[in-house]
């Protein structure tokens, strides 16, 4: 059963809630990974392709400042989890796609930024 874990406000912001499957692990509630990513490249208005998005943990953190995000994951289970976890305000902006990086179903020169998220 999927459960949500909201970080206690005494530790950090409730906005850093992460979703887990049975196990209540919090990954990077401080947002260091996404913050470093956003500092490294200007995502403003960019069309972003993320390869290996998993449950969408990272994509959901930078998507607000991007134009559109296509987040690709090979396995079905994490994609299902990502679809469930996607915040309502990002559903128009983030497309979650089950696809293989060896056969990306996109036309040439479509994206401004590609993110290999722990996937190479």
């Amino acid at each position: 059963m999927w459960t949500t874990r909201h970080t206690p406000t005494s530790w950090t912001s409730a906005a850093t809630a992460v979703w887990t499957c049975a196990v209540t692990t919090e990954l990077d509630p401080e947002g260091v990974e996404a913050g470093t990513l956003l500092a490294a490249t200007d995502f403003t208005g960019a069309r972003v392709l993320e390869i290996g998005c998993g449950d969408g943990r990272l994509a959901f953190r930078y998507a607000s400042g991007s134009g559109t995000v296509v987040a690709v994951e090979l396995d079905q289970q994490p994609i299902a989890k990502a679809l469930k976890n996607c915040p309502p305000h990002l559903r128009e902006r983030v497309a979650l796609v089950q696809a293989n990086a060896l056969a990306l179903p996109f036309r040439r020169e479509r994206f401004d930024i590609a993110v290999l998220a722990w996937s190479l």
């Binding site: 692990t25 919090e26 990974e33 490294a40 040439r108 020169e109 401004d112 993110v115 290999l116």
Partner: protein, 151 residues
Amino acid sequence: MPHEGMVDALHNIWRALRQDGVLIDLRPVSGRCPIEVVTATESRQIGELDATGMSADDAAADRAMHEAVDHGWFSPMQTQRFDFAFWWDTVDEMSTFLSDSRRAKGVTPSYSVMTEAHQRIAAECGGAVRLRSFRLTALSSYAKATVAPAA
């Protein structure tokens, strides 16, 4: 993913990027990470996570990225390292999470020893304590090169 697959994937990404596009390669760095018990006032190391298990995959990924650069698909821009935290309430939660991690080889000392340490510190503090570990991560960015790809 085998090395050849990584190179093919990088070529597909090259095709999908615009001429002035940027590729960001974000991945954890193999190494050993401290496991700490964090109280309201301090953190105490009670163990270590061995995350060296994927060094062969990391080497293959490095080779694939170098090959993509050699092909003229991408030009290196910058690389930086940073770490971020994982948090758990109990050693059991940490154990379950790490058992699903393909990068974690194990922990020292044993989970039972760390459970004792966690419970002892919690009793000393009389308050909430949590477990924390870190993951050293590398972020490398590359500009899409404008030359025609060699493959």
